[in-house]
Subunit: 134 residues, 2 copies
DNA sequence: ATTGAAATGTTATGTTATTACATTAATTGC
DNA sequence: GCAATTAATGTAATAACATAACATTTCAAT
């Protein structure tokens, strides 16, 4: 039984809602500050919830900015998808999420050509969105 | 005139040699510890050198592990290449470096289909190398 | 109800990176 | 050469991100 199927715990819900309501990605400590009113006091409360939500594919970690975003596909279970790619705007912080199976396969093939078996992929593009380019 | 063309400064050379002699990626603080004998005392001495070396394409930052590696192509100027992709073994920490222009273009096209103009890409695969798979 | 697993609370600490400011070294233009 | 400028360095302090360790509580399955 996946975490997405069973109900979220209180802390998990608070953290997820916080991210879902936010415009863009948030750092763990920003989430912590937002949740102080709800009784949060220590980073671990946030990190533990983030771990579970990430496992479940409901939240993604952006490695290049030490931040977290709610998955852009709330309906589906992102943990079933493979690689998730991100475009992150340096101007406004907006994040676009992609699932590109062909690119994923091309990367896996590349790795396997060197006898490397990939289990997990991080793909993050930094640049400017349309609005910030003008 | 690129940094690779002009001679490296003392700190830059020390940091680069440290990475080049290392088997795998190193954290900034590990580099700092290795260079204490050579007079290094503060993280900034390492970070400043890493910044310059990274700009020059002589060193790459691995975002998913907050670590740094010497470029696997010492001869060429990596800063002229576009995207660099990495396969990082969870078992032994070994890193394989790839330049995959076609995948880079596919990713750029994907981004541009959403009006996003990528400037820089992070592609890191985690998994197991052949030796660690047995 | 008992028990075992999962989640939580809390304190302390470890790790990674930057700010701020003073000083020294290298480069450029005259 | 020498002044003016830019780049690199030294150093201390602090900010930002993340985990270890251990006690306690909650929840679900029997």
């Amino acid at each position: 039984m996946t975490i997405a199927a069973r109900k979220l715990t209180r802390n998990q819900s608070l953290v997820f809602d916080c991210l879902a309501e936010s415009e863009g990605p948030m750092s763990a400590y920003t989430i912590l500050d937002r949740l102080r009113d709800h009784g949060f006091k220590a980073p671990l409360q946030v990190y533990r919830a983030l771990d579970k939500l990430t496992e479940a594919g409901m939240v993604h970690r952006l490695e290049s900015m030490n931040a977290y975003v709610a998955c852009a596909h709330p309906d589906e279970d992102c943990s079933h998808h493979g690689m998730t790619a991100f475009a992150i705007c340096e101007g406004c912080g907006a994040v676009i999420e992609f699932h590109a199976h062909e690119i994923e396969h091309a990367l896996a093939a590349l790795a396997e050509s060197r006898k490397f078996k990939p289990e997990r992929m991080t793909v993050e593009m930094r640049g400017l969105c349309e609005a910030c380019r003008r």
